[in-house]
């Protein structure tokens, strides 16, 4: 039973990581920006969920409104901040987004994010789902399904829409994309907006489990960077597999060995990947 429970929690963690990491991967792929502020988008989503719920709105409204708001903030930040350092050395984006993360986290602290809060699970998602002898908490099943459905929707949109085609082309080679008239600036605004919204979705749906406070996105950001490295920088399908690998290792490690040992195990894996397979699981990531 412990293993089944850990497996479910690992899938839940993997699903949250998946939503979160896809955005991180897209932002790096198209804009070559390593976005340390992505964790702050998660925190912002979680906190916005709490604020909206406290103002009397139902969970479902919070799940809709918070990502839209955070997504629009992402568009604004890309236009006002990220665009200024486009194509500059990567260390510039590291420092700038790290500073932006501290800024957003600081603002969240001042707006009530010092206290750890839990978003209430809506009544329709309380209870358990019986699968044979295994009882699964309904909310965790919902969270996993939502993450998987959103991921499939995003991948289908990337595969079948003109927007997706341009994003994937710019993800492969931004300079060549520009030579063919792809406007990376406008594309990046939308990519950061969608990515921030996905991070906020994961923040809202994660708030009943991982809680909500100003820095709740910090841990998920570290795990997401490991996901992106294991999957290969800029590789979407690599990120999908890596999200569940990281989620399962984290949860099983915490269950059997304790949290710190689980993280150590992940760090060893990431180091081994970086040294031996720097292009990630499918060999299609970038190494610059």
């Amino acid at each position: 039973m412990l293993a089944a429970s850990l497996a479910l929690n690992g899938l839940v963690m993997g699903s949250v990581l998946l939503l979160f990491s896809l955005g991180l991967t897209l932002i790096y792929g198209v804009g070559r920006i390593v976005n340390f502020a992505h964790g702050a988008f998660f925190s912002l989503g979680a906190m916005a969920g709490i604020w909206l719920a406290n103002s009397g709105l139902p969970f479902w409204a919070a799940l809709l409104i918070a990502p839209i708001g955070v997504g629009l903030l992402g568009v604004l930040l890309d236009w006002a901040v990220f665009a200024r350092i486009r194509d500059r050395p990567m260390v510039d984006s590291l420092l700038l987004t790290f500073g932006l993360a501290l800024l957003i986290t600081g603002v969240l602290y001042e707006l009530g994010g010092r206290n750890v809060q839990i978003l209430a699970i809506p009544s329709a998602l309380q209870g358990v789902v019986d699968i044979g002898a295994i009882k699964l908490p309904m909310y965790r099943v919902f969270l996993s399904l939502l993450a998987i459905l959103l991921t499939i929707a995003l991948l289908l949109f990337l595969k079948n829409s003109d927007w997706g085609l341009r994003v994937r082309a710019a993800n492969d080679d931004p300079e060549m994309g520009a030579c063919l008239g792809i406007d990376r600036e406008n594309l990046m605004h939308s990519v950061v907006g969608v990515s921030a919204a996905l991070a906020a979705v994961s923040g809202v749906v994660g708030a009943p489990i991982f809680t909500a406070y100003a820095a709740v996105g910090d841990k998920i950001l570290i795990l997401a960077f490991m996901t992106v490295i294991l999957g290969g920088l800029g590789s979407l399908r690599g990120a999908i597999v890596a999200a569940y690998v990281v989620g399962l290792i984290t949860v099983f490690g915490e269950g059997y060995f304790g949290g710190q040992l689980a993280l150590m195990l992940l760090f060893v894996l990431v180091m081994a990947m970086l040294i031996n397979w720097p292009r990630g699981f499918f060999g299609e990531g970038r190494t610059e």
Partner: protein, 235 residues
């Protein structure tokens, strides 16, 4: 020249190094200008500078009476595109997607269609659902040329498009240049292979140390091809 691509005293810099020292020449619609010269003389930099892919520029490039300015995508949208020398396909896109992502309507109303591009490069038609990164070098080169045609630009810049290609592929590249020229697309061709340059070129510009030092019209070159051959590294 109406509709011409005009280089006016173009200087280009990478960091503090000046690579181009006042390049001036003109290309007309539906004509092929060949940039020739030894390696490292500034031919590729001329093409990259046209697309805004150098650190700093002085002088100007004028297209249809309007100066090319701003980021690369805007220059491309004004009607110019580049086929770089290192076969830059989008490796994780299929051949079909590589072609579709480039497709734009021609300002002149004479669009190249995907079907027409595949007539010139039938091998690509057999690979439409294959990831471009898995194509052979020759197939990738055909794909980038076909992709540039589908952008339906006013001017197409080709950087050593036949380097390392088998003769059958070289023939296909030549066909594509002829087809583009027949649609009124002007071409700037950087080419080490003198036979191809002689087969398609209308004007020939020889570069040395970031400058154009000599120019010839087609008849002059055909009358005395050795004059050019002596100036070039020919494979």
């Amino acid at each position: 020249m109406s509709g011409a691509l005009v280089y006016d005293n173009l200087c280009a810099f990478y960091g503090s190094s000046q690579i181009l020292h006042g390049v001036s020449f003109e290309v007309g619609q539906g004509t092929v200008a060949c940039l020739l010269g030894l390696n490292g003389m500034g031919k590729t930099t001329t093409l990259r500078a046209t697309m805004g892919l150098v650190d700093r520029l002085e002088g100007k490039v004028v297209l249809n009476g309007e100066e090319l300015r701003g980021p690369t995508y805007r220059r491309s949208q004004m009607g110019i595109t580049l086929v770089p020398e290192d076969r830059k396909v989008f490796p994780n896109l299929t051949v079909d997607e590589n072609l579709r992502v480039a497709k734009r309507k021609a300002a002149r109303g004479q669009d190249f269609t995907i079907a027409e591009a595949l007539e010139i490069f039938p091998r690509l038609g057999e690979r439409m659902s294959q990831k471009a990164g898995t194509l052979s070098g020759g197939e990738q080169q055909m794909l980038v040329v076909a992709r540039a045609m589908l952008a339906n630009p006013h001017y197409m810049m080709l950087d050593e498009p036949t380097e390392g290609l088998a003769p059958s592929y070289v023939d296909a590249i030549k066909q594509s240049i002829d087809a583009a020229r027949n649609r009124g697309i002007g071409i700037v061709l950087v080419e080490q292979s003198l036979p191809l340059a002689l087969a398609v070129g209308d004007r020939f510009y020889v570069m040395e140390n970031g400058q154009i030092v000599q120019s010839f019209v087609r008849d002059e070159v055909l009358a005395a091809p050795d004059r050019l051959a002596n100036m070039l590294t020919v494979e």
